[in-house]
């Protein structure tokens, strides 16, 4: 039997925003950042929570962490009501806000962990055990004594993850944990999260713009747009339906009419550059390149994966699934 660790029932968050109306006067409008959302997350699952900017992702996370109080509806996390039991809940959750650090900027990385240990009241033995485990898993040893401000982005993210998990939270919220990371760091972060989830049963809720994060990590994804959950299910389904479209961008020697090639459709032409949309599972990129090269002289090319925002937009346009 799985336990529902996160429960949202009919949750709405409304903000009042001021809009300019005339020189001085302002008009106040109600904006529903989150609009009657309901979902549950079982203990030990990894869920991708995605959607375009302004869709309501961070508002949801802020309600789940107790930062924001919902306008209406019921939120339960680990059996607690976040907005009322903020401090109690804080011991059971970990948060990584991708763009902002929660580490002590001017001090060696090690010091941040010591400070968090006392803030979270983690017993000494447990702290030592976790530190040893994370140091090995994330290869922290080489930069534990380096001030945070001197760390590379990848090193810092590994530090952030450690900081969020040192007090053994039941749930960890990750906001763009791989943003800006190189391939090696990305892989390391993903492996670490998979391990933590498997070995400690930590529930992970992550927001990302990187579809490959979701692919490697999450069996379930929730897509939100304009404050509504518009998709809740697994990734293969969504990829099959919307996500396997890719785009081949080609620079030709000279501008010409749209290339007529089987298996792809020209989306855009700009001077000598053209965008060809094709389905990944019907046609490989190399095969398409070969077909294009038979017809025109290529100077340069690039393959673009479908952006998650495009997927979301397409799902939204096709009506809620």
């Amino acid at each position: 039997m799985t336990q529902e660790l996160i429960q949202l029932r009919d949750v709405t968050k409304t903000f009042t925003v001021a809009r300019k109306a005339g020189r001085v006067r302002r008009r106040f409008e109600q904006v529903h950042a989150v609009d009657h959302i309901s979902f549950t997350v079982a203990q030990g699952t990894m869920v991708g929570y995605i959607g375009p900017n302004g869709a309501g992702k961070s508002t949801t996370i802020k309600m789940l962490t107790g930062i924001l109080v919902p306008t209406s509806g019921q939120v339960r996390v680990a059996g607690l009501e976040p907005s009322r039991n903020r401090v109690e809940l804080a011991r059971r959750i970990g948060v990584v806000f991708g763009q902002r650090t929660q580490l002590w900027w001017d001090l060696p990385l090690r010091d941040s962990f010591d400070l968090l240990r006392s803030i979270y009241r983690v017993p000494g033995a447990r702290h030592a055990r976790n530190m040893a485990a994370f140091t090995e898993l994330l290869d922290l040893a080489p930069f534990l004594d380096v001030p945070v401000r001197q760390l590379s982005l990848g090193q810092r993210m590994r530090g952030e993850l450690t900081a969020a998990l040192l007090h053994d939270p039941d749930i960890v919220y990750l906001d763009e944990p791989t943003i800006g990371l190189d391939v090696v760091s990305k892989a390391q972060v993903r492996d670490f999260l998979t391990g933590i989830n498997r070995e400690r049963g930590t529930t992970v809720l992550l927001t990302t713009h990187d579809l490959s994060d979701i692919e490697r990590l999450c069996r379930r994804i929730l897509i939100i747009d304009l404050g509504h959950v518009i998709y809740d299910g697994d990734l293969p389904t969504i990829r099959r339906r919307f996500g396997d479209e890719r785009t081949l961008v080609v620079d030709l020697e000279e501008a010409g009419p749209p290339i007529d090639v089987p298996g792809a459709v020209v989306d855009r032409v700009e001077g000598s550059r053209q965008w060809l949309r094709f389905h990944g599972h019907q046609l490989s990129a190399s095969e398409l390149v070969a077909r294009v090269a038979e017809r025109v002289r290529l100077v340069d090319l690039a393959v673009e994966e479908t952006d998650i925002e495009d997927v979301v937009r397409r799902i939204y346009l096709t009506g809620r699934s």
């Binding site: 802020k62 804080a90 806000f97 902002r100 929660q102």
Partner: protein, 267 residues
Amino acid sequence: MVETLAVYRRLIGARIRSQYQYRASFALFSVGQFLTTFVDFLALLVVFTHVRQLAGWSVWQVAFLYGLSGVAFSLADVFVSQVEYLPDHVKGGTFDHFLVRPRGALFQLCAEEFELRRLGKLVEGGLVLALACGRVGVHWTAARIIVTAVSAMSGAVIFGSVWVVGAACNFWLIDAREVVNSFTYGGNFLTQYPLPIYGVVLRRILAFVVPLAFVSFFPALYVLGKHDPFTSLGFVRFLSPLVAGATLVVARLAWNAGVRHYRSTGS
């Protein structure tokens, strides 16, 4: 409580270590703070080269006010004034970090923005107070010493509360820093001089609205054995700790209301 203090010490320790990395700037700022406040004191002495008394107060009696107010103010400046950085944390989103940790947000804000270099002012205030105590020519009974010490603490609480109330306003207003400054830095200046030199409106504000008159003026009446020109109620000069307690309650309420507002609007 003991455990919270230990966390506080560690957080402050971390701040001091961070700032120690910028040693030169630390030293310059501390010395600068000492000097700017010392110039204030020189200005006070200059006034007394022209007059022998100010509203019936001699130079060392005013210096006592100055020192007492300085110590109270700089204690608040060292431990609480950091709350004025709240708007930066709200705008930068780091206030959310405080809210997802199992500690009070105000506690974390004060601890994480702690600046040791503000101590320069405390040193100056302490020196002037010590100097004035030696020169005011009163007999230092235990009661006088206790009232002086308690007033310094109460004054620190009053100034600190003003800072917190001001910071809490930032949850609603975009940037209320300048308004708050006029009560804190401005208040520090006002409490360096005897109350009777001000107009009636300002006097009433300082006694009843923003009760800074209890930082130095009323307790000094007792310590220096002076006649109260405003009231015959003798206990008023001992009210500072109670007034401090009341401002603390107001500050707590204002802060909580501010955080509640933040948590419902997210800005």
